[in-house]
């Protein structure tokens, strides 16, 4: 199977998978801590809507970055803005946006497919790592590195807020910009990974690595290293599976991530950490 790496498109694909895996694998434990799994799904669906908008506006079908970024950031920032003001529970609000992005996306897709064959959009929806260009990889590397540096700078504040909002507020004061910046960074990291994972499945790469690593990690440093290892292994194994059996890369990577999760669940050490509460 390794002879596939003789082909330049496979090498570019392997690099793209490694970059997306390191970035999203690192971010995954922050996503789990901040309960942003459904938010990530929403951004993926908004990316699909963004592609349709881009095509309708005349952007090229395979790289409508301006529209994807525009729509996704609009959704992400709108969600944070409303979450900070609405009294609705977070998951209910995300659910509203999830339904909205899907509804708008489907309507626009129908409009778009009057101009193109719907199969042309499969790469965006399900991932097509073998069509990744060198420019895509540079974009992935640039956005990914910026995302990791930004999160490293905000990390302790983000995580203390995640442990307990009141403690974070008492320690660092009211800092809405920290949440806005993180959401923008996460959104951009998800968008540039859609070519690898597909808009509909990109959420898996930012959720499953951490929940898999959680079965074994006993402190933050181990958790992050294991998350990256799970993401890179599943990504590269999924790439080979995708090339071997001709299925979309996003789906193949999700299968490998899920296999790792189930394996870790079955083989996890017996001792589990309970959730403790105090107070009435």
């Amino acid at each position: 199977m390794l002879e596939l790496l003789q082909y330049p498109f496979m090498v570019r694909g392997a690099v793209a998978v490694a970059l997306a895996a390191v970035v999203l694998g690192t971010l995954s434990h922050v996503v789990v801590a901040r309960r942003l799994a459904f938010f990530s799904t929403t951004v993926g669906q908004a990316a699909m809507t963004g592609v349709s908008v881009g095509v309708l506006l005349g952007e090229p079908l395979n790289t409508p970055w301006a529209s994807i970024i525009g729509v996704c950031l609009l959704v992400a920032l709108g969600l944070v803005y409303l979450r900070r003001r609405a009294t609705l529970p977070h998951d209910a609000l995300v659910g509203v946006f999830l339904a909205l992005t899907l509804g708008v996306g489907v309507c626009l897709l129908v409009a778009v497919t009057k101009r193109f064959n719907i199969h042309a959009l499969e790469a965006v929806m399900f991932g097509s790592v073998l069509t990744v260009t060198a420019a895509d990889n540079w974009l992935l590397a640039g956005v990914g590195l910026s995302a990791l540096i930004t999160v490293a700078l905000l990390y302790n504040r983000l995580m203390l807020q995640s442990v307990d909002g009141s403690l974070g507020r008492a320690q660092f004061g009211e800092q809405p910009q920290v949440e806005y910046v993180f959401m923008v960074v996460l959104t951009l990291a998800l968008i540039v990974s859609t070519k690898v994972m597909g808009a509909l499945m990109v959420e898996a790469m930012v959720l499953l690595p951490a929940v898999t690593a959680r079965q074994w990690g006993r402190k933050l440093s181990t958790l992050v290293l294991l998350s990256i290892a799970v993401a890179v292994f599943s990504g590269e194994a999924g790439l080979l599976l995708s090339a071997a059996v001709h299925v979309p890369s996003g789906a193949a990577i999700v299968l490998m991530l899920s296999a790792c999760f189930l394996g870790a669940l079955v083989l996890r050490p017996r001792q589990q950490m309970p959730t403790k509460h105090y107070g009435s």
Partner: protein, 202 residues
């Protein structure tokens, strides 16, 4: 004349708090007492800026330490006690580990509240009393200008309660303004405000 640690004027939060006035001087322990539903925890939430309110809340410049009444040590991630304390004390992202100086500082903080051997324990594995002591250690380091405590002695054994009161007295001597919510009679309190149905009654 020095500004007080906290001055609350005409604080109103819906029907829960109705025109509460309260001043906590620096170097003073001020106890807030009252039956369930009197608005004690709501007052702390307003001071922390967590809920909208009418009236004025003036806090002295400087750090605010806070020990919440309720705390959930989330089991979604494998936090250790050291990971948790490092978040507010290390410039390095906590997942990259802690420097030897931060590590020593955290060990000293934990020893001061009788948790000297807990640094590498999972946060979710601590008992309710241990969590309270950990949160107290977090709240008072570095020295806050204002310390807010919501039922800090609930769930503590007699030895830990005694140590808590001694530490509060030491913090008071260092000029910290302390506002604590408690159901218990407090010998350490310099002033007591009694709340009932959102109003100051004594």
């Amino acid at each position: 004349m020095r500004q007080p640690g906290l001055r609350v004027g005409g604080l109103t939060v819906g029907a829960v708090l109705r025109g509460v006035d309260l001043t906590v001087e620096r170097g003073q322990i001020h106890a807030l007492r009252g039956p369930n539903g009197a608005g004690k925890s709501t007052l702390l939430s307003a001071v922390l800026g967590e809920i909208p309110f009418e009236g004025t809340v003036c806090r002295a410049a400087g750090r605010v330490g806070y020990v919440p009444q309720r705390f959930t040590a989330d089991a979604a991630l494998p936090w250790t006690v050291r990971d948790f304390l490092a978040l507010a004390r290390s410039s390095r992202p906590a997942f990259l580990g802690t420097s030897s100086s931060v590590k020593a500082h955290i060990d000293a903080m934990l020893a001061a509240v009788g948790l000297g051997d807990a640094a590498d324990k999972p946060l979710g594995g601590l008992s309710g009393g241990e969590l309270k002591r950990l949160l107290f250690a977090h709240a008072v380091d570095p020295l806050p200008a204002l310390l807010l405590l919501d039922e800090p002695a609930a769930g503590l054994d007699a030895v830990s309660t005694e140590r808590l009161y001694m530490q509060l007295t030491a913090l008071k001597a260092q000029g910290c303004a302390i506002l604590l919510v408690s159901h218990d009679p407090l010998e350490v309190a310099d002033q007591v405000t009694q709340l009932r149905e959102g109003r100051v009654v004594a």
